[in-house]
Symmetry: C2
Subunit: 140 residues, 2 copies
DNA sequence: ATCGTAGTTTAGAATTTGTCTAAGCTATTT
DNA sequence: AAATAGCTTAGACAAATTCTAAACTACGAT
C-alpha cells in the first residue's frame, strides 16, 4: 500500500536525477544536510562531521566526490578564500562574500548590494564565466 | 677603491632594510628575481625552481618565509584563486584579476578598469581590509 | 524477480602544499 | 674580533585533497 509518509525526499531524488546523479543513500543524505537547512557555507571536514553525527556513515572520499559533483551540477558553489581550504556555498544565486580572515567566517552579501561597473573585456579568445567579489574584513 | 660596479642592487638592500628585514644573500636573490623582472605572479614552487635555475641554493622553507615576509612588508600581495595553491603578485597597487582556470593563468586588471559601487557596510564590529575581484574566464 | 553492468563507495595509500624544529650559519653591533 | 640576534636549512611533520583498486548498489534488461 502507498502509505502517507512514503517518498519523504522525492524532490531531492528528482534534483539528483536531473543532475545525472544516481540518488544513492550517501548522496541523498548529504543533499538533505546541505540543501534542507537554509543557506550555509561548509568545508569538507565539517560536512563529514555532520554526516557522522547524523549516523550516516560516509567516507571522506565520498564527501569530496559529492561536493564536486554537486558543484558541477549547480547545486553548490565553491568559494576560495584561503589557500588550503575550500568552502561550499549552498546559495547558488548571484551574490558575493564577506570573509573574516581571523575568524575564518564567510558571509553572503546579497547580489544587489554590490554593483560592478566598467568591467573590462576579457582577453580575446576567452569569455567571462563568473565574477567573484570577496570583501576581506577584520575586527575593528 | 669604490669601483664603478659596486653595490649593483643597493635599492633592493634599502627596500629590505626599510621593511625591517636583513638583506641576506637569499632574500636579495629572491627580491631580485621577483622585483626586477616586471610584473608577475608566482607560486612558491615556481620561485624555488627559478632560484635553483639561477644557481641560488635556497630551501623551500626559506621561499615560504620570504614570500610571507615580503607580503607582510607590502612588497608582494597574495592572491587566492584555487584551493591548495597561492599566487604572489608583484604588483601591489590597487587592482584586480582575471583568472583562467583551465590554464591556471592569472592576469592583472588595472585598478581603474573595475569600479565597484554600492559596497554594503561591513558587519558591525568589523572594517574592510581589502576587496578582491576575480573575474573567472574560460576559453570561448 | 533476477542478472549484468555501469556507476558508486570505500579504506587506505599517495600526493600536494605548507609548517615546524633544532642545529648550524651570518649580518650586525660592540 | 667576539657576541648575539636573526636567518637558513634539511628533514620531519601536518593538513587538505586525490588516487586506487576492490567491494557494493541502482537500475535497465531479461
Amino acid at each position: 500500500m502507498s502509505g502517507m509518509s512514503s517518498r519523504p525526499y522525492a524532490p531531492l531524488v528528482d534534483r539528483l536525477r536531473e543532475a545525472g546523479l544516481r540518488p544513492t543513500r550517501q548522496r541523498l543524505a548529504l543533499a538533505r544536510i546541505l540543501l534542507m537547512n537554509g543557506q550555509r557555507h561548509v568545508t569538507a571536514e565539517q560536512l563529514h562531521g555532520e554526516a557522522l553525527e547524523a549516523e550516516i556513515s560516509v567516507s571522506l572520499a565520498t564527501i569530496y566526490n559529492t561536493l564536486h559533483q554537486f558543484t558541477h551540477a549547480g547545486l553548490l558553489r565553491e568559494v576560495v578564500v584561503e589557500p588550503g581550504r575550500s568552502y561550499f556555498d549552498t546559495n547558488t544565486t548571484d551574490h558575493h562574500h564577506f570573509f573574516h580572515e581571523q575568524a575564518g567566517r564567510l558571509e553572503d552579501i546579497p547580489g544587489e548590494q554590490v554593483r560592478l561597473v566598467e568591467l573590462p573585456p576579457p582577453p580575446s579568445g576567452t569569455i567571462i564565466r563568473r565574477v567573484d567579489v570577496i570583501v576581506r574584513i577584520k575586527s575593528s
